[in-house]
Symmetry: C2
Subunit: 374 residues, 2 copies
DNA sequence: CTGAAAGCGCTTACAG
DNA sequence: CTGAAAGCGCTTACAG
């Protein structure tokens, strides 16, 4: 009946944030009688083995006799024992945590990626810790170092554009922190990369517009400090060139992957004479901006102008007209990244994913149509 | 020079996932010579005190003489000592982790909330662990229990609709896990709640439409299993009633907070004769759906129909016309929730936030206008 | 294939 | 106001 006191609202002494040292101040010891969770010692006792042997079973060591293992597993099953991640973390000098370090302006990307990472971590012993950051900040690298070092993270996943920073991998290696970089091209050893091949998606956009008869084609790229912006531009322009259409630099404007920058760039393009008949935007956000600028300029879509985006996030279906765009399986990419990160240890080393499975694909909606007759 | 072997790709023995027991198999002990981070023992030695006294300083105990404290802090500063969260976690029987348990269909909400929680956790010792879940699953409660129990979380933040589940608080209390529920109304003691007062926002929407001369007004609510759906409906209908306009149940359709449900409900409403001149949707997603349905029905917005959403997420500015909506300061709400959670311990207990600061507010854009003349 | 001892880096429970 | 001893629940480093 002292439980209420202990568990109640004040909970003094429950945490470091409250400075009270309860027993020093209050004398009386109040231990709640709640059923204690079984520990490795309980399992060892019940299975009549040493805790080291239980530890071997927990960690899937092959150096355990089959019948011993079965006996221990039976006890584990019965008691519902789950090894304490904090204690394991301390003994391993390594927390059971995987970090996602991101600096991405698109919430949909962040949530899809998170979801995918958690898909890949299911049934693992790890939890996901999120760590947004600002790549432009002078403290960026220090911040990442502190995060990884203090928490002794098992590993981190780096989506773009954090993945593109070459200052991070050496720091991670120094801290013995595994990592996976997700990027549009291979920036590192294959087993620490998930490559999204953005140039393939951009090429599909180009072929789509060419097939519709477009020849006066413009591109609004993302920020050129993002590798994906380069790759999308390259894939697009190469696929155009393959069919004899040249993407001149005059027809490429650099946006910032934001809605507003899409509007601004489109204004410039639509004011030209002759006007482009098609615009490929580096992502859906900018494509949505093109739609707004076109409406303001009295340009009808897709009759006067075709627009293609990139990402196929929710917004692509919400705007009017719905966007033709390039679908990227972000969640699946996240699942693969987590999977590869977790399996980067021990003998499973070197497993590869099927890069075909995560290739970007064209999704045709109503923002693109035949090129207008001259 | 053995470092490369240790730090290289294989990293055997680095983790439980790889079952190898390096020294058992390989004999030779390979310790990387990397500078060890200082521990509490180093600080104690350098400051010529016991580690317990250093511990007191770390945990801000007042029971330390001022000059002793200063001496220890100087050493901590010099060495860059940061106490190991894993070790503290084990000793405290409580991890330095705060969980966000969510089941929310809107990525923008999730990301804003996360960002806010991290704002509130800055300079604290905690990290944020994300835990999406499915409230409709039969394993929902068990899943949450396991998460909290195994990780020995310091606390959790429950945004809607997870916050509305009354089965959770008893489980959390049993596990001595602090919690904050974020909801549209007070469902619990004030110090474990952040109340968003959705009825206030909905009332603002109602007054806006009344001021524009609308009288034939409809509402597409969210799923009635969400408390917010009730509150928004109630606030809206009470504010209409205050000016003599009755919101009949015939003029309320239940949506599901999704874009698609917005389209479906709007189709029904727009087929009626006489047609409503204004629709208040329970969130922006459904309002976006209303826009699509109106376009299909040849109903011009805002000329023939005014539309008001709720949330003021990015989509509100991307659709056409941009949505008049109710702005909710999600990030700030998250910051307050984290702040309140962390300060729920010790003597700071009972601190309240300024509920005025997070009140929802009307944002007028182009989807609403004067009621059409009859 | 298995185990006894020591240790991971902290805090608790006392004692002074 | 301060400290020595024990302990949190695991794994490592040996030894057999």
């Amino acid at each position: 009946m002292t439980q209420d006191v202990v568990r109640g609202a004040s909970r003094a002494g429950r945490s470091p944030a409250g400075w009270t040292e309860p027993t020093e101040d209050h004398g009386a010891q109040r231990v709640s009688e709640r059923a204690r969770r079984p520990t490795i010692n309980d399992i060892a006792r019940l299975a009549r083995v040493s805790k080291k042997t239980v530890s071997r079973v927990i960690n899937r060591s092959p150096l355990v006799r089959e019948d011993t293992r079965e006996r221990i597993n039976a006890v584990i099953e019965e008691t519902g024992f789950v090894p304490d991640p904090t204690a394991r973390g301390l003994a391993f000098r390594r927390a059971f945590l995987i970090g996602m370090i991101y600096d991405n302006p698109t919430p949909q990307y962040v949530v899809n990626m998170q979801q995918g990472l958690l898909d890949g971590m299911r049934d693992s012993d790890y939890e996901l810790v999120v760590h947004p950051c600002n790549r432009a900040s002078p403290d960026f690298v220090t911040d990442v170092r502190n995060f990884v070092e203090r928490q002794k993270l098992f590993g981190v996943v780096l989506p773009p554009s954090v993945s593109e920073d070459d200052r991070l991998p050496p720091i991670l290696r120094e801290n013995d922190c595994a990592y996976i970089r997700i990027a549009s091209v291979a920036l590192d050893e294959p087993d620490v990369m998930v490559v999204t091949n953005d140039h393939v998606g951009a090429a599909a956009a180009a072929r789509h517009l060419l097939a519709l008869g477009h020849r006066r084609i413009a591109h609004i790229s993302g920020l050129m400090t993002f590798r994906s912006a380069h790759e999308r531009r390259r894939g697009f322009s190469e696929a155009l060139a393959a069919q004899g259409v040249k993407l001149t630099s005059k027809n490429v404007l650099e946006g910032a992957y934001t809605f507003e920058s899409g509007i601004e760039c489109a204004k410039v393009l639509l004011a030209r004479s002759p006007r482009p008949t098609a615009i490929f935007a580096g992502n859906d956000e900018m494509a949505a901006g093109v739609l707004v600028a076109a409406r303001q300029a009295g340009v009808s879509i897709p009759h006067d102008l075709s627009v293609v985006g990139y990402d196929d996030f929710q917004i692509a279906e919400r705007v009017w007209p719905p966007l033709t765009t390039i679908h990227t399986p972000t969640r699946e990419i996240g699942r693969i990244a987590a999977d590869q990160l977790i399996r980067s240890t021990g003998d499973a080393h070197g497993i590869r994913y099927d890069s075909q499975a995560i290739l970007p694909t064209l999704v045709v909606r109503e923002s693109s149509g035949p090129a207008p007759a001259e």
